[in-house]
């Protein structure tokens, strides 16, 4: 290092330390959100320069002269050597979604500090490490998927178990994401209208790019965007018209059924008609909105109104149940560490890397960027009044359905808020009520509206900005729902096809419809149970999602540890083993608590016991209204408990396979990993 760069990095370290100290040590006085942003950026810079590059150099021992899959299989289609900045953008767009926006918002109930510290520590030592190591493994194996890597390095059984785990995770993700949309759109004609218009808009775009101007992405996206903004503006008139508004005013149950039907239809339609064009819109809107949020925070520099730490770290919070450990660490998955990224890092990105040495920039750096999105979500949730935050995120079972009672309950928790503020906020954003709009999206939307309206439009445009934020989240969640359903359908066909080979035929309409029905009914069932859930669903299902996602990360990091042992790099195995261990501790504790905890608010079985006992006496416990609903609640508890337990079993068995494989690797005195491409010096074409 030159003296100048030492000085520069020293400066960044000092600046970052000061910002972090301001964030962590201020008690009672309000701090500006810019401190949070500065602390995060300095942490990222230092982590990348000193840990990300270290991993690339010492742990991966990247070889600039080794031909990557993009060169060895170059076909101009899947395998294309791609400029690293372009690939970084591609990779970031693929990993960033609703997760980093929702988790931090929910975690804000414990104050901004615990979540922020976990986001920063998690991304540096776990999330970015996982993403870049999996990218490395896949790049050295012709861009193979995580499942294939597990199979070839740890055996077919471990691979099969991991595959079942991935399938369950997909189902949970789809159900939870759909639930976020339901929570945001229920009783909101403006929101429901705009989101529904995205369907005809996507079809117009699809037809345009198929028949009128084939393949003109920019043109059709601009057309789509203009139509979308028109619908968004017009949505206010719809909501204000007593004649039309009722047609777009849906209950949660109706929305759930509509979404389930939509998921089915959208996933069997030709992709060019609906799925692809809507993905274009949602991708560009997502990147644009994230950039706008970053810009907005820097221009407005809003103060954080949420306390650094609230009393709810003891586990009694209304947003999600359970104490800081382990539940904070599963509530914020994406943004800190997300197992799902292991699927993306072993997807298209490794097939396009120009040179191995770019792996830290794309894998580690891309994840740092996503973590920054999570930090911005934390800021957005913390700039709104804490009383409003709790009104939006607490289940109606706790705070009731009218502003006066809600304000009183939230006041009793120590967060002063007037009923007027609750109704005024609802009016400002163009809604009739903001109570119990759990799921993160509406809260984030209020936060974003607060920030954006400070830049442009003031109070007059707050409703527009709120619904813009809702729209952008709903849009990419819906894309995830139909694309994910489609992916699940093929997984179902693959799994059942293992027993009945004829079912693998993806050309058959019967197979297609049957597999889609199975996939849709699985996530649809969980979604519906979430919608009618007494605690509002998010409270119950988000932890399951967090556990599953973190367990996948655990599986990916166990795989990385095993491969490091097989490469005879056990000296550096701690880089993957340390976060793997932490994730196992968190997820196993959380998973077992969700199943067996004696508090019915946390443990599914004790909740089932409580309702089961009442049922046996013929009593009806709120919020159930009759014995049938009581039976439903007990049954759902057993479903949720089984899912949580299944995740525990999956991760424990992968751990056992991993340990056995490590023992085998240690007994061998030569490297035993199965890489591809080391022997080929020149460039070989497929």
């Amino acid at each position: 290092m030159t003296a100048l760069s030492k000085l520069l990095w020293g400066g960044i370290a000092v600046f970052g330390a000061i910002a972090l100290a301001v964030v962590a040590l201020s008690r009672g006085e309000t701090i500006n959100s810019v401190w949070l942003v500065v602390a995060a950026i300095c942490t990222y810079l230092i982590a990348y320069r000193f840990y990300g590059l270290f991993i690339g150099r010492a742990v991966m021992q990247l070889d600039a002269n080794r031909a990557t899959p993009a060169y060895r299989h170059n076909d101009g289609l899947d395998y294309v050597p791609t400029n690293r900045y372009v690939l970084f953008g591609h990779h970031f767009a693929a990993i960033a979604g609703a997760g980093p926006l929702v988790g931090p918002v929910l975690a804000a109930q414990m104050g901004y500090l615990p979540g922020t510290l976990w986001i920063l520590a998690g991304v540096v030592f776990a999330g970015a490490v996982q993403d870049s190591l999996v990218l490395f493994l896949s790049t050295r194996r012709d861009g193979r998927s995580l499942g294939e890597i597990i199979r070839s390095e740890m055996g077919a059984t471990a691979g099969g178990i991991a595959l079942i785990g991935v399938f369950l995770i997909m189902i949970i993700i789809l159900a939870v994401l759909a639930l976020v949309v339901v929570k945001a759109l229920a009783g909101s004609p403006w929101g429901a209208f705009t989101v529904m218009t995205t369907i005809p808009i996507a079809v117009i775009m699809g037809v345009y790019s198929r028949f009128i101007r084939p393949g003109q992405i920019a043109e059709m996206s601009i057309i789509g965007f203009v139509l979308l903004m028109t619908a968004l503006i017009f949505g206010r008139s719809v909501a204000e018209s007593p004649g039309i508004a009722p047609y777009f005013d849906y209950s949660g149950e109706t929305l759930a059924i509509m979404l389930i039907g939509y998921g089915f239809v959208a996933s069997v339609l030709p992709v060019w008609l609906l799925l692809a064009p809507r993905d274009y819109l949602s991708t560009f809107l997502k990147i644009g909105a994230i950039a706008a949020l970053a810009l907005g925070i820097l221009i407005v520099m809003p103060p954080l109104k949420m306390a650094a730490v609230t009393r709810f770290i003891d586990g009694t919070g209304p947003v999600f149940s359970g104490a800081l450990f382990p539940f904070l660490f599963i509530t914020i998955a994406c943004g800190a560490v997300s197992g799902f990224h292991a699927l993306i890092s072993s997807g298209t990105t490794p097939k396009m890397i120009e040179n191995e040495t770019q792996i830290p920039f794309i894998g580690y750096g891309g994840m740092l960027m996503e973590s920054f999105v999570a930090i911005m979500a934390m800021v957005a949730a913390s700039v709104i009044e804490p009383g409003v935050y709790f009104a939006m995120n607490s289940p109606s079972g706790l705070i009731g359905t009218d502003a006066v009672k809600a304000a009183a309950t939230i006041g009793s928790w120590g967060f002063t808020v007037t009923p007027d503020l609750l109704t005024d906020t609802a009016r400002d954003v163009g809604e009739t009520t903001i109570l119990s709009r759990a799921g993160g999206a509406p809260t984030l939307a209020v936060g974003m509206a607060e920030i954006f309206s400070n830049v442009l439009g003031g109070k007059a445009l707050m409703g527009f900005w709120y619904h813009f934020a809702i729209l952008f989240e709903a849009l990419f969640i819906l894309t995830a729902v139909d694309a994910g359903t489609r992916a699940c359908r093929f997984m179902v066909q693959d799994m059942i096809g293992a027993a009945i080979p004829a079912f693998r035929n993806t050309e058959s309409w019967a197979n297609n419809l049957l597999a889609t029905t199975i996939a849709v009914s699985m996530w649809g069932y969980i979604l519906y149970s979430g919608v009618i859930d007494p605690l509002g669903g998010i409270n119950t299902l988000w932890p399951l999602f967090g556990i599953s996602n973190q367990m996948l990360a655990g599986i990916a990091l166990i795989t990385c540890t095993v491969v490091l042992f097989k490469m005879k790099r056990q000296r550096y195995a701690w880089v993957a083993a340390m976060p793997a261990l932490w994730l196992l501790i968190c997820t196993l504790t959380a998973g077992l608590q969700k199943v067996f905890h004696s508090d019915p608010a946390i443990g599914f079985l004790s909740h089932a016991t409580r309702f089961g006992a009442a049922l046996a006496e013929g009593k009806v416990l709120a919020p159930a209204k009759n014995l049938g609903q009581m039976r439903q609640i007990v049954f759902n508890d057993y479903v949720d408990a089984s899912l949580a337990f299944a995740f525990v079993l999956v991760v424990v068995s992968v751990l056992v396979f991993g340990l056995l494989e490590i023992r085998r690797a240690r007994a061998n005195d030569r490297p035993t990993m199965r890489e591809i491409g080391a022997e080929q010096a020149g460039m070989v074409h497929a």
Partner: protein, 77 residues
């Protein structure tokens, strides 16, 4: 790819840098939705596999769209 000395001059080089930037942004945006560079595909096939037929842009677009979405997309949270 880029000539570093051009950065030292005023005028046209700045314009060409801007052009590179714009084309990179365009390329990134298209790749984000699964469409790689068509010209590079044509160049690749015509240089390395002159015996193979080259897809028209329309065929190429459909091919890539199907590749990205056909089997469903795993999209993160």
């Amino acid at each position: 790819m880029r000539d570093s000395t051009t950065n030292l001059r005023w005028g046209p080089p700045a314009a060409s840098n801007l052009k590179t930037l714009v084309s990179r942004i365009r390329e990134t945006s298209r790749l984000m939705v699964g469409i790689p560079d068509y010209d590079r595909y044509v160049e690749h096939v015509s240089t390395n596999h002159p015996e193979r037929p080259i897809m028209s842009y329309r065929e190429f677009f459909d091919n890539r769209q199907q590749a990205r979405y056909g089997m469903g997309m795993k999209r993160c949270c």
